[in-house]
């Protein structure tokens, strides 16, 4: 089942076209990855889905309905982004950050969701009263992911979750992404770390200069000589 469908998407910044006619299907309960080099337009796609940037033409459909045009309503539809660079609220406590993640929810279950997150990320439980700005980079990434999960997303979009983290923590992050999928959340992963993302994803799109140049199953792309040469650092 396709959860989110992107049809012929065009996005431009002023006169510069960032995304030129991208189409994608994001399958339910799968990890879909978008890989590509700097400036390929990966973040722009995620921001277009979240309506942080406006798309010039094309459609973004959740199920069969077009996504709303304002960012906050998109979150209410269950499409939630973990932004690049984590963007946690420094100055607020860890728990307040998590509560903000649940802002779009109107049920009374928020404290049980908090406990569930503290189970998944014990370090956040230990630091629940601490200023989130004082956490380490890895902890902040955990918090950003956890904050997004508090919204109970249908589709979780992660933008460069491994950026600027120590290798050992990068492994943790990818393990967590798999765990999130196994709990039944659809994941859209945008990464420069092509090797690791292709290894955990079910399907992947390779983006270059705003267009999809290749797509296929993660394992197929891993074996593809062109891809491994351009993005995985292997010699021909």
């Amino acid at each position: 089942m396709t959860l989110l469908q992107i049809k012929d998407l065009y996005v431009s910044y002023g006169y510069i076209d960032a995304i030129c006619g991208v189409s994608m299907d994001i399958e339910e309960n799968r990890i879909t990855a978008i890989i590509g080099s700097n400036g390929a337009g990966k973040t722009t796609i995620i921001n277009a889905i979240s309506a942080i940037v406006r798309h010039k033409s094309g459609h973004i459909l959740l199920g069969s309905a077009e996504l709303p045009s304002s960012s906050n309503q998109i979150v209410r539809k269950g499409v939630v982004q973990v932004p690049e660079g984590r963007k946690i609220f420094a100055g607020l406590s860890v728990e307040e950050n998590l509560r903000l993640g649940a802002y779009s929810r109107h049920d009374k279950d928020i404290s049980s969701s908090l406990e569930a997150q503290y189970c998944l990320f014990p370090i956040l439980g230990q630091r629940r009263a601490q200023d989130a700005g004082t956490l380490s980079g890895g902890e902040q990434q955990m918090l950003a992911i956890s904050r997004a999960l508090m919204a109970r997303p249908k589709l979780l979009m992660l933008d460069e979750p491994s950026l600027g983290l120590a290798p050992i923590i990068v492994n943790d992050v990818f393990r967590i992404i798999q765990a999130i999928k196994e709990q039944g959340t659809t994941v859209l992963l945008v990464e420069q770390n092509a090797n690791k993302s292709l290894a955990i994803c079910d399907y992947a799109y390779v983006l270059e200069n705003g267009s999809v140049i290749k797509h296929g199953k993660g394992s197929e792309l891993l074996a593809d000589p062109d891809i491994s040469c351009a993005y995985l650092g292997r010699r021909r």
Partner: protein, 293 residues
Amino acid sequence: MWLQLSINGICLGAVYALIAVGFAIVFSVLKFSNFAHGGMISACAFMGYFFQASFKKAPPIWVTILFTAFCGVLFALFLDQIAYRSIRRNKSPNIYYFLASLTISIIITSILNVFFSKNPLAYPPLFETTTFSIGALKISKMDTMILIISAALLAALLLLINKTKIGLAIRAVAISPETSKLMGINSSMILIMIFSIAGFLSGVSGVLLGCKYGVYPDLGQTMMVKGFIASVIGGLGSLGGAIAAAFLLGLLEMFWTYVFGSLSTPVMTFVVMLLFLFIRPQGISGKFAKEKV
């Protein structure tokens, strides 16, 4: 005598606190000093005065305060529409906000100056006797009323900001409007709410100041300077700091006036602000400088 002065100082501080908080709440979210606040206070003081005067038998003061606060909210939303909205939409630099707010304040005051003289209009007296005494202490009934209303309002505001879901959203928007949207927060609604709160505060302070000092066009601007100083000393954008600084300023002013006379008091307040900017630019709360990348 010192006790008497302290009491008077605290009452004066309560007035400053209301103004300072109106400043601080806008600064915390939009990062500019909303000088239009002064003009709004003047305008609201006049609205309250004419509302009060339009009845044969003056309505109770709380009716006037509520009415004026409501007018203040509408007025603030109107100003937001005509002045700030386009700045926000074009994502213009903060200096535009600053200039717009200063201009609005001057326009309002000038318009009021055209229609009304500089002679203060007096609200009808609220109390038959102006003071009551506890032992040797003489306490102004008016000041007591102002103190109680301010304290209640400030407490309600702090509760709203620190304990409710909306308050958390306000604090989030203050840190980053963009990221707040990703949490499902309607950032523009929050901004409108901030202006409404500031408008409400200006309405209440307009009536209270009008009762205390009389109503004249420059009322708001004169008092706004004190509120501005308090919010700078408190650490721009911090509500708790602004309140603490306002009371500090009120007390200082009372004692200074008693010892050195009232002529040099304005000098003293600005010197205190300068000292704070030299020694502790982040203000009493120290929150201002704490911005992390």
